[in-house]
Amino acid sequence: MENYLILNTLNFPILSLLLIIPVVGAIVAMFLRGETLLKYWALAVTLVTTLVSLPLWTNFDKTTAKYQFVELRHWFPALKLDFVIGVDGISVLLVLLTTLVMPLCVLCSWTYIKTRWKEFVIVTLLMETAMLGVFVSLNTVLFYIFWEGMLVPMYLIIAIWGGARKDYASIKFFLYTFTGSIFLLVAIIAMFIKTGTFFIPELMDHSYSFAFQMWVFLACAIGFAIKMPMFPFHTWLPAAHVEAPVAGSVILASILLKMGGYGFLRFCLPMAPAATVYCMPYLLALSLISIVVGGYLALGQSDIKKLIAYSSVGHMGFVTLGIFLLNDAGIKGAMLQMLNHGVTTGALFILIGIIYERTHSRELSDNNKLGMFMPIYVTFLGIFSLSSLAFPGTNSFVGEFLVLFGAFQDFPLVGAISILGAILAAAYMLRMLQKMVWDDSDGHAHHGHDDHGDGESHALFDCNAREFIQLAFLTIFVFWIGLHPTPLLDMMDSSVAHLLHQIDAGSVMPEAVEHGSTHHALLENAGTWIKNLF
């Protein structure tokens, strides 16, 4: 077991602390009274978690694909079930993303959440533990516990603090994700029966028959595709996003959606490599459909939150596209795109929360001509919208470029279709930006500045210091990743190389090659075929 792992060499158990601090924080919160105290407590706990997680960045060994900062405790010896947690190049950045986004979730709820602060703090902190747990688990049982553990807090966030149709949205969210997890559980048990271990690296190294791989792949893929969400399982997302409170939307967009991509990279690709290669064309097709359908639906939305929610479907399509290209640029691009989406879409939801607190509407037509009243807000809106449409120099561009590069390298046709998504992204984002910043085409101003005397009650004051800090913090990442992504890409390097090696080694099975090659040939020849037309 030890040859997969590098035990934690820091003088404190960093990953366990990350899991424990929020839980302890939640328990203490039960005994605290007073809204203000609870707010500051939640902020303090999440900030401490962030600080504790920083050594993951500084002490991470980029040269190895092994799991690092590992903590190993024996748990159920009878089942060979150990408590083992660690991170590698694939998960470490997602852990950091989670710890960095959580304080923002508390900050953006500061005035947005008006009732039941105690419950909110407890649920949010438990959510943080569950999400971090998913990323650090190296054991399928542990993974599944945390995976399901996320479901309840998220359900509560939507169902308690949500909007008008919160019951519908929260139930839909719960049913969709839970259905997916059931399949995942089946796969986990099946693999245990086959191999007798729950330890993820060992499961990866075991070679299964092609038929078994197919079943495992399909079971996992459905669970992750729902979480992602990938077309045609995407319908829960807009509902959940629209009804969720701002913190819920940020958690959903920034972190929860990444679980799907992470799952693909951790389970499907390395454990069922032959099946992955076999299914690749279908998943590429689904990704392309997600990209185009997500973008197309976003184009027609008048509700800003729905617009961003559908844009997430499109962006996540780019992630799965990158993952299933199964080449270096594609996977790195997909991973970078997950981080970018976390930063950018998280920020966009924060921005929507800010404007919702002022105008109490999420309709585009109620929130226009903001450029005149809220210049700082509009500046940030501009930056993050441009980042979302993959403007060069911002974070998403790098991710999108790498995915496109991966696509054009192997399957030019796939690349050409995914360009449609890039065009649509520009279209819906610029439409939103144009309407919110300038346009007052329907002629009625809602803000009571000019004709109504009641301007005081919904006066459009610009961002305050708290809001400014959240947005400025995320802006740093937009430009940092956009102009200097090398440190991030370096961190992924060894792990991605290792993953590709696993796929290469695992997919050389006679039956798979036979099936896979016909599909490959089809995609590869599409270019030559078109060429022959001329």
Partner: protein
Amino acid sequence: MNTIITSKIIITMLIPMITGLLVMVSGKKPNLRDSWSTIGAILTFVSVLSFLPVIQGGDQLQFTLFELYPGITVKLNLDPLGTIFALVASFLWILASLYCVGYMRGLDEHAQTRFYVCYAVSVGAAMGAAFAGNLFTLYLFYEIVSIFTYPLVMHHQDKEGYAGAKKYIIYLMFTSKAFLLPAMVIIYVLCGTLDFNSASIAHGIFPADADRFVVGITYLLCLFGFAKAGIMPLHNWLPDAMVAPTPVSALLHAVVVVKVGVFSICRVMLSIFGTDILNETGLGLMTAYFVSFTILTASVIALTKTNLKARLAYSTVSQLSYIVLGVAMLTPNSITGGLIHIANHAFAKITLFFAAGCIFVASGKKDISEMGGLAKQMPFTMVAFGLASLSMIGVPPVGGFVTKWYLALGTMDIHNWILLCVLMVSSLLNAGYFVPVVLKAFFGKPLPADEGLTTSLEGRPLIMFMVIPLVITGVVSVLIGVYPNLFLDLINLMVKS
């Protein structure tokens, strides 16, 4: 040729950006704000000028700012082609910033701070495009220009403004996302780098065994991706963008924005594809025929326009294609003719737009039919307008003649009489739409309402802010016709390499 690595060349790009910031913070004090613009413009020009001796000595300046991925960097590289564009754009910015003061205050426009900020940043981004050392950097600045000129086009914030700006951004963003982005990715897949080959215009960066079909597709994607160049059928945004205030039309839609487009196409043709590959595949000649269509059609449309700015807009569409035509003929003479037209067209067309704006502010006239006898009231303006028209038509000794001379030589080098005819016919058409304007202004009958008005309209202080720049640009467009050596030498450095 030596490549000198120096961080100094960032300055040229930074000055306009900093100017934008200073303008923003001093928005409440108009005099201070407007002097920042002028000072920024002068400093930008001086900084470009300071690099000129090195470039003339045959060296190039280079600096890499960021590395995104191996082969994809934000890299600046100043070579003769970039120098020409940067010199012209920064010099004209000085005059345009003075002109803006007269125009914006003369019409008492709203949101002037926003206007000046976007103006400065757009120029800065154009400088970045001129200095770009690889395709990614070029694309980056190309897109920044698109975004920051959007508020300028919709400046009036009325229905027309929104519609024009919407069309503008749709054309520019759609083409760059749909064509340029895949082109860039394909080039990266084929070549493993996006860096320009600035040492030689012959070879480009493609490996010798690159699939010629894919290269051809990529070339077409690039040609259509840079919609700012206004090549038909993607020219439609330009006339609609004329709803913008005239200084925007003048500097941006005659010099900065459209020139960024044309400059990018030239850059891609010469430094990415290289003349060898374009010659071998016949893409060069194909492009020449293709833009000939734009040259002629746009001129014919210009004849039908009675609004002065609309006529100038179509004239721009037509003239821009001269530049591409010259480069596409791929001979040293024609490339010289095409590239020198970047300067010649800039000086002449900005004079024409300045004059149109000046006429509008001074007399409120937009339509050519109203301008009878205007030269009596605005002699300086109309003389400069006349000079610039001569340059557009290509009469010696004004700048445009040098262009047409070299372009004609180019057509003879490749023994192509069709393209020679295109040049001749288009010169006639140019005369057809400019000469009536000048004749009308000098000898035409004034409108009944203006009958007998001979008082000068150019005496007011604010109007002086507009007349002086346009006289200077008019004179310069003659000067660069008489002494074209500065630009010719720079182009020779490229062509001869």
